[in-house]
């Protein structure tokens, strides 16, 4: 269900100044139209939703004798069943999520546990983090003292990412994590080599 302001209903507005576009500019995305107010060059493609009446907020109808009732409101008639737990819900408790319909309890639990991908708004992709922390310092080699931090961090992030949920669009990205871990190991190898070289240099200097 979409709720909107009546000011926008049925109108395409210029993204720059907010002026309403002339109706003839609609549905001709190949033809540029100049905004009457700010003279910006615009193309617009409209869809049936622009002319759709805003649905009224429904509170659910009272149930008659023998009708299925809402799990949360026993006096209200059931409109649907939750697609996750199967509880009957009224129109008020129906929580549309994309093409699915959920009850408020499933929606709440999905928000808390990130089990519903439709509700995830932000995610730390540890494999990407491992890749960046591992590869970037190697590319910017003259910052090599940062290897002390970035090397172990890249390895740690890579291992941590293994069983963590990945990106919604590209998945876990274990290949990236492996590259990150390898880059982290390379950084540590450089540091160890440097320490060994300095130690050998000092021992050679003290025992000529």
């Amino acid at each position: 269900m979409t709720l909107g302001t009546s000011a926008n209903f049925g109108l395409v507005r210029c993204p720059q100044c907010g002026a309403a576009l002339a109706a003839e500019s609609w549905d001709r995305p190949e033809v540029a139209v100049s905004c009457p107010n700010c003279h910006e060059e615009l193309w617009a493609q409209t869809f049936p939703a622009i002319a759709r009446a805003r649905p009224e907020v429904r509170s659910g109808e009272h149930a008659m004798e023998g009708e299925a009732v809402c799990f949360f409101h026993p006096e209200k008639r059931a409109a649907l069943a939750c697609e996750r737990c199967g509880r009957f819900v009224c129109e008020l408790c129906d929580m549309p999520l994309g093409t699915r319909h959920l009850c408020p309890a499933c929606l709440g639990s999905g928000l808390e546990s990130e089990k519903l991908p439709e509700l995830v708004n932000r995610r730390v992709v540890w494999s990407k983090l491992s890749f960046f922390v591992g590869a970037l310092p190697l590319l910017l080699f003259f910052f090599w003292p940062i290897f002390v931090v970035s090397g172990p961090a890249a390895i740690g992030f890579g291992i941590y990412s293994w069983n963590k949920p990945g990106s919604l669009v590209t998945g876990k990205g274990r290949f990236r994590a492996v590259i990150g871990i390898l880059c982290g190991l390379a950084q540590l190898a450089f540091l160890v080599g440097l320490i060994v070289a300095i130690w050998k240099g000092t021992t050679h200097a003290s025992h000529p």
């Binding site: 540029a32 939703a49 429904r58 932000r122 992709v125 983090l129 960046f132």
Partner: protein, 184 residues
């Protein structure tokens, strides 16, 4: 193991698309089953924004001056290279080899700037794509006009199909009483 289809398909458009392997910050658009997903990622942290096809009222493309600005910036840098190269070349009355090489390198930089300007011009005008829903207008991406049109051609049938499918059964579903076990 059965092959599970990917839930999202990459759509044309999105900044830093070509250099994504090293881009720390980027914006990409993905097409889901019933929605557009705008993904803004920065250093391994991804933020998602969904625009459901059934809610999209209009897609608006606004032409921007980004191409012109880049042409001016690159052009001015190129002209500076060219001017310095010309000054060195014409003031080098002794025909010193080092100065001639310096002037040649600077002239080469000017030519590279010119080529970059030409490529930027040939790639077409720049624009910003907006999605209008009942909740307002949201910027989707900044791309070349050709890419924006390609994006629109890909999205239009999906959005229309989603809204056509929604239009008819929605009214019937809410007015009829719910009968457990009977699909409406």
């Amino acid at each position: 193991m059965p092959h599970t289809p990917k839930p999202y398909r990459k759509l044309p458009g999105g900044s830093a698309g070509r250099v994504s392997i090293i881009a720390l910050w980027r914006v990409r658009i993905w097409q889901g089953l019933d929605h557009l997903l705008l993904v803004q990622s920065f250093f391994g942290i991804e933020q998602y924004r969904r625009f459901y096809f059934r809610d999209i009222e209009a897609v608006i493309i606004r032409r921007t001056a980004t191409r012109l600005i880049w042409n001016v910036v690159i052009g001015v840098i190129g002209l500076m290279f060219l001017a310095i190269a010309a000054v060195i070349w014409f003031t080098n009355s002794n025909h010193e080899r080092d100065l001639q090489i310096t002037a040649g390198i600077l002239a080469g930089c000017a030519v590279v700037s010119g080529v970059l300007c030409l490529i930027n011009t040939l790639r077409g005008p720049t624009c910003k794509v907006f999605v209008q829903t009942a909740a307002g207008k949201d910027p989707l991406t900044s791309v070349r006009l050709g890419t924006a049109r390609k994006l629109l051609r890909r999205l239009t049938p999906e959005i229309e199909a989603a809204q056509d499918a929604q239009a008819a059964p929605a009214a019937a579903a809410v007015t009829q009483p719910f009968m457990p076990g009977v699909s409406v």
